[in-house]
């Protein structure tokens, strides 16, 4: 089971969904803070939902306020980077680039892509955590031996 979990994680890395920062988060988790990673990721979901909504609204305006969009995306990129959400982060970078050159279509296209990546990441990470939770207690029992 442990190996399955490790494989799951490895796949997430190999497919570029997560990067080394996620490992940094895991290293900060300990017995005193056993749910640290999940807590941070939950905060990320909440924050992201708010940002996605704001960006969506901003994209409906005409003409687009590129500096506002870039600012929102800067926040999104920052938090994605902080949890190791590699693919989402790279979509954020692309979006910012479109903002910089005032490419409205580029922004809208990239945003769709970003939402897709975000949704996929969320699903995969949820599965990972669910699995980890299942085998968690077993792991602890082994450790106490």
């Amino acid at each position: 089971m442990q190996r399955q979990l490790a494989n799951m994680k490895q796949t997430l890395f190999d497919q570029g969904y997560l990067d080394e920062q996620f490992i940094q988060l895991e290293e900060l988790q300990d017995d005193a803070n056993p749910n640290f990673v999940e807590e941070v990721v939950t905060l990320y979901y909440r924050d992201s939902a708010r940002l996605i909504q704001n960006i969506e609204q901003a994209l409906e305006k005409s003409p687009l306020d590129f500096s506002k969009l870039e600012c929102l995306m800067h926040q999104f990129k920052g938090s994605s980077s902080s949890i190791g959400a590699k693919r989402v982060k790279s979509e954020c970078t692309q979006f910012k680039e479109h903002c910089r050159v005032g490419n409205a279509d580029g922004c809208k296209r990239t945003f769709q892509q970003l939402k897709k990546e975000y949704a996929t990441l969320k699903k995969k990470v949820e599965v990972y955590f669910q699995f980890a939770r299942q085998i968690g207690p077993v792991e602890k029992a082994c450790r106490s031996k």
Partner: protein, 225 residues
């Protein structure tokens, strides 16, 4: 580790408008046995530090008594650069311009690697500049800055050797640099300005303090931006 235990805990004030980053930096700092206070803006940081709006720089008249009432001692301020309203740079400036706060070491974090930004901050008196996201190895570099100031305040001479081995120096160059600046500090005990200048000059001489930021630069070449 022994040094920290002997001196009691260091208290770090972390400033970041992002909730996630505040949670992260708090965990990083606590893992390294620092006491932590987090605030979400530069103005709240100044409030916490006991900076009063009516305190001016030495060129303005002020009748405020020079006794600052700082409830809690802060040994280091770590701040994000990009924040709405008062940026990390603005906060750094205010701290360094304040007669009562300027001895507190300030460290800047940023998600963007902009050489001119880094230079500006170091010139203004920031001890170091880190690229986000911060890692444990970065946090390990904070302790020497806090110890240098604490010892100066308590008028004790630091044991050079121990300070060099605490935290991870990325390179021998950095170890030598630290030893040199400590040597300088010991020689000019009352002259912290000199010390600051020496450190700054070192950074300038090496051009954007490559030793301090080298690991970050190499990180960044991997992460195409």
């Amino acid at each position: 580790m022994g040094m920290a235990a002997a001196d009691g805990q260091f208290h770090v004030l972390a400033v970041d408008d992002s909730l996630i980053d505040r949670k992260l930096i708090e965990r990083l700092l606590k893992t390294s046995s620092f006491q932590v206070t987090t605030v979400d803006s530069g103005s709240k940081a100044l409030e916490f530090l006991g900076w009063h709006g009516s305190e001016r720089n030495m060129f303005n008249e002020t009748s405020i008594s020079p006794k600052i009432h700082q409830e809690v001692e802060v040994n280091l301020v770590i701040t994000d650069y990009c924040m709405p309203g008062m940026t990390g740079y603005d906060l750094l400036k205010k701290i360094k311009e304040s007669a009562f706060l300027r001895d507190i070491p300030v460290v800047i974090m940023s998600s963007e690697n902009v050489p001119s930004r880094i230079t500006r901050c170091l010139e203004e008196g920031a001890e170091e500049f880190f690229l986000k996201p911060m890692k444990l190895s970065d946090v390990n570099k904070l302790r020497p800055h806090m110890m240098r100031t604490k010892f100066k305040n308590e008028n004790e001479k630091p044991e050079k050797e121990e300070i060099i081995t605490i935290g991870e120096a990325d390179s021998d160059m950095e170890k030598i640099q630290r030893a040199q600046s400590l040597q300088q500090h010991n020689n000019n005990n009352d002259n912290d300005d000199d010390n600051n200048n020496n450190t700054k000059r070192k950074s300038m001489d090496e051009g954007l303090s490559p030793d301090r930021t080298r690991p970050r630069y190499s990180d960044l070449t991997v992460m195409s931006n």
